[in-house]
């Protein structure tokens, strides 16, 4: 569905030193610098796949999405989405995709969202019956009935985001580019939007690329992740496999019923943390079930949870590795 080969986007930016002197200097002589926002990226995404795009701010995630949705002209390389060259902005291409940017809106600010939906219906050439059915479905899934007739500028951020989502998906695109779709939303609303995206993907076999600062978005939705750093891909593959290779152990958290001496606990596994009744062990992946059974049998356990180390840490490890390799 999506094919990207050696995609590059280089910008030239004028730089200015701070202050008045800097302004004067740059007025007469501009300092030009080339920024390689995307620097030779290649990947393929199959129909129906949901892929998480991870990377720090400025890593090139959004620039890539903008090239894939036809907003930006690539400096070099090739991109094909659903068989189209995005930059050509062919009508059938634009009807196949959507790009949702958490901070930007397409809804008409001074009018109720419903008016924007009607405009989209006409622009995307959606027949009345289909429009009604889709609206009904989105209204139920996103709980929109009280929101649709309010002026957009009077909506809360969460309400507005739900309307943006509905407006962006009204034409039932087959390819979704989601750039920080949950930014600034509270946890409930994040979960809501996540569930909606998952449902949409299921129902329409839509292909999804998602960038997010909230790891929970990515872990909940995407099996596969692509990690970018400084315009290059440093990891592309299965999220679960990444966890296994980069973190060979799991974290086992226990709550005890009564205090147990540290020395007794150390016999089971290496202790990460011990505070009163709460213990955290680090246990090799292969031994998790055996150890858990043993702990439960031999210690006064009130509660037990087994977790992967926070994914932020794992991604952080990836970055340090990648940068170390570059420096070698």
């Amino acid at each position: 569905m999506i094919e990207v080969r050696n995609l590059e986007k280089h910008y030239t930016v004028a730089e200015k030193e701070a202050g008045l002197a800097g302004s004067l200097k740059s007025f007469f002589k501009r300092q030009i610098r080339v920024v390689k926002a995307v620097d030779g990226v290649s990947f393929q995404i199959a129909t129906g796949e949901m892929v998480g795009f991870l990377g720090a701010n400025g890593a090139g995630k959004t620039t890539t999405l903008k090239m894939l949705s036809g907003l930006l002209h690539p400096s070099a390389g090739e991109a094909r989405v659903a068989g189209f060259v995005p930059f050509e902005r062919q009508s059938n291409f634009l009807k196949t995709i959507t790009l949702i940017m958490g901070q930007k809106q397409q809804l008409i600010w001074d009018l109720p969202a419903l008016d924007s939906f009607l405009v989209n219906q006409a622009i995307y050439e959606i027949p009345d019956a289909e429009y009604k059915a889709t609206m009904q479905e989105f209204t139920d899934l996103l709980d929109l009935q009280d929101v649709l007739k309010k002026q957009v500028r009077k909506l809360s951020l969460g309400e507005r985001m739900k309307c943006e989502l509905a407006a962006a998906l009204l034409h039932k695109p087959k390819v979704l580019f989601l750039d920080e779709p949950t930014i600034g939303l509270d946890v409930n609303m994040q979960v809501r939007i996540r569930e909606f995206i998952a449902a949409y993907n299921q129902k329409f076999a839509a292909t999804v690329i998602l960038t997010s600062h909230y790891m929970a978005d990515v872990t909940a939705l995407c099996k596969r992740i692509i990690v970018v750093d400084k315009g290059r891909i440093i990891f592309d593959g299965d999220l679960a496999a990444l966890l296994e290779t980069t973190s060979p152990s799991k974290i086992m958290k226990l709550q005890l019923e009564r205090l147990v001496p540290r020395a007794d606990l150390e016999r089971y596994a290496s202790i990460l943390q011990l505070e009163g009744l709460n213990v955290e062990f680090s246990v090799p992946r292969a031994e998790v079930s055996v150890k858990a059974a043993k702990l439960l049998a031999e210690l006064p356990v009130a509660d037990i949870t087994i977790e992967d180390p926070p994914i932020e840490e794992i991604i952080g490890q990836l970055f340090t590795q990648a940068r170390a390799e570059v420096n070698v």
């Binding site: 002209h73 009807k95 940017m101 930007k104 008409i108 001074d110 006409a122 995307y124």
Partner: protein, 275 residues
């Protein structure tokens, strides 16, 4: 799913209707603002008073224009000025710098048509006010003949549509410069000042220095206010009217080529900042 596929014509008509409806709703939210904007285009009305004063002081006519000639000319010039108003340079400038232009580029319609419909719709909101002012002016100054004949009115409508298209496309081109420049509105201001001075809003071009006239003929300005106004009030022979329409078409073609080039080149240059 697609119960009844629609013809291309039907689809276009639906888009036209939807954009018209949305913008009309939007404009009615801002109707007071539109009235205020109209007041900012009142120079011909002020000049009307000035020149009538001159005519009366000179004993009836100035350069062959009587008070009612001036009234007819300036009312027609004001009407024309109102019909060709275009602020699209500001819209594009804002959209490109704020990043909202990106969401327009994502839709399967050229943003041009959205802006175009926005302006057309606004003309409908402005229309009743314009007619009221013109009617009032005609009544207040005795002997004013604003419309020479039904034929002149029809040709005027054609000429003013062409004039609007020229002004709109020029403004659009200025707006597109924002793909390269930080800010294009300063250029539109410059255009606005030139246009007020050179389009015939201050005085009929008959009063301009003889050396300036031939130069003006080669600029677009006279063809968007002065000549349409002259057509409406019947001061041009039909052969001259034909020439004016032809020159308008030539200008439109030139600016359209420029617009196409700027659009193509600008999109390649677009940085889609902020969004």
């Amino acid at each position: 799913m697609n119960s009844q596929p629609m013809s291309p014509f039907e689809n276009t008509w639906r888009k036209f209707k939807a954009l018209f409806g949305a913008w009309l709703a939007h404009m009615t939210v801002y109707r007071a603002e539109i009235l205020i904007w109209m007041l900012s285009g009142t120079i011909p009305l002020i000049m009307l008073a000035v020149w009538i004063g001159q005519a009366q002081a000179a004993g009836g006519t100035v350069g062959g224009f009587s008070a009612s000639d001036f009234a007819a000319y300036f009312l027609a010039a004001w009407l024309s000025g109102q019909m060709i108003v275009a602020w699209v340079a500001w819209e594009i400038d804002f959209a490109i710098r704020q990043g909202t232009f990106s969401s327009k580029l994502l839709r399967p319609i050229n943003p041009f048509w959205e802006y175009f419909m926005q302006h057309i719709t606004e003309r409908f909101v402005r229309g009743p006010f314009i007619l009221a002012v013109v009617a009032l002016g005609t009544l207040l100054i005795p002997g004013t003949r604003l419309v020479a004949s039904a034929g002149h009115l029809l040709v005027y409508i054609l000429a003013i549509i062409l004039a609007f298209a020229i002004r709109f496309l020029i403004a659009y081109c200025i707006g597109l410069l924002c793909f390269w420049l930080e800010n294009a509105t300063a250029l539109d201001e410059l255009y606005f000042v030139l246009s007020i001075m050179l389009s015939g809003s201050f005085a009929p071009l008959d009063f301009y220095p003889a050396w300036l006239r031939p130069i003006l003929e080669f600029l677009p300005f006279p063809y968007i206010v002065y000549y349409p106004a002259q057509i409406l009030i019947g001061r041009l022979p039909w052969s001259e009217i034909a020439r004016v329409l032809l020159v308008q078409c030539v200008w439109l073609a030139i600016i359209f080529v420029l617009f196409s080039w700027l659009w193509k080149a600008g999109r390649r240059h677009y940085g889609a900042v902020g969004a």
